[in-house]
Symmetry: C2
Subunit: 179 residues, 2 copies
């Protein structure tokens, strides 16, 4: 980090220089301070994770040779970076079960199927679509649009939007998000 920014700002800046993205959900995870975690010097790292929507068009800056990996088949990382990833997955699952961060990861309009697939990916579990949809509907934080996504079926499936205002209103009335 630089001397003139917070750690959160620093994380934002790094993500931006890597992807060009701005205003991305970032959450601080934890510090890693083992003496021998890197061989050349004593380095303390504070890890973060970001939620990057599937509809963002990203040009990864080649300078850092970063790459996307599927969680189920990602390579061994150097130093303690495997631990960092594991820690990030755990935190992501906790966060996703207590806050509607799922919507950070979808385009503004999405189908119920998209939403279900996303949560299935986050928790690495399969859900029954009837139960999933009625759970989501019971939360009453989505708005059904008139539009349909016609790309995945002949019948087409309705698109929904996350209603931030409604959600925050419910929050202030003591509502607890729980999935």
């Amino acid at each position: 980090m630089n001397g003139e920014e917070t750690l959160d700002e620093s994380a934002s800046r790094v993500l931006n220089s890597l992807t060009g993205l701005e205003n991305i959900y970032l959450e601080q995870l934890k510090s890693f301070s083992e003496l021998d975690r890197e061989p050349t010097a004593r380095i303390i790292s504070i890890s973060y994770y970001a939620l990057i929507s599937t509809d963002e068009n990203i040009q990864i800056n080649e300078k850092y040779s970063a790459k996307w990996f599927d969680l189920k088949q990602f390579p061994n990382l150097i130093f303690d970076h495997n631990k960092m990833v594991q820690n990030a997955v755990t935190r992501l699952r906790y966060r996703a079960s207590t806050q509607p961060i799922g919507f950070e990861l979808l385009p503004e309009k999405f189908t119920m199927k998209d939403l279900q697939s996303l949560y299935e990916a986050i928790f690495d579990e399969k859900y029954d679509k009837r139960n999933f949809i009625s759970k989501i509907n019971s939360m009453d934080i989505l708005v059904k649009t008139e539009e349909k996504d016609m790309t995945s079926s002949r019948k087409g499936s309705f698109l929904y939007r996350f209603d931030k205002e409604k959600y925050h209103k419910k929050l202030s009335q003591g509502y607890l998000f729980k999935i």
Copy 2:
């Protein structure tokens, strides 16, 4: 922190110099890095919380003028330290609901009433004793001893121990602690 220790070690050392205690449960919370969090210099702090059992006999080192406060009536703290305390309470509650850290805070042998009072303090809620006890019993991680605590009633109440081995065996079989 010194240059030759991890942050966890540093937290242990600070706690030890404050209280003389060793082998205390400590968990790292998060970093605080706002530019103006302290007026005199740019300081980044990593907060921790500790679980200190009610049966520890503690001599607080007067050098640091530390004091114990009841959470329900603790004073305003300087800088961003109120935030730190709030963050610690939130984490403690999360941890206590997913891991049996309650037992870190009790003597080796304790009554069901002790345990219930402890969880009531952590979550600032009252529980029905029948429901509480049957929930604890259904976990099957306590051992009832033959001994009774005679200090709180004429009848006396049985003392229990937390069975770490049993708990870890259950964990390895996929058991999830949940209170």
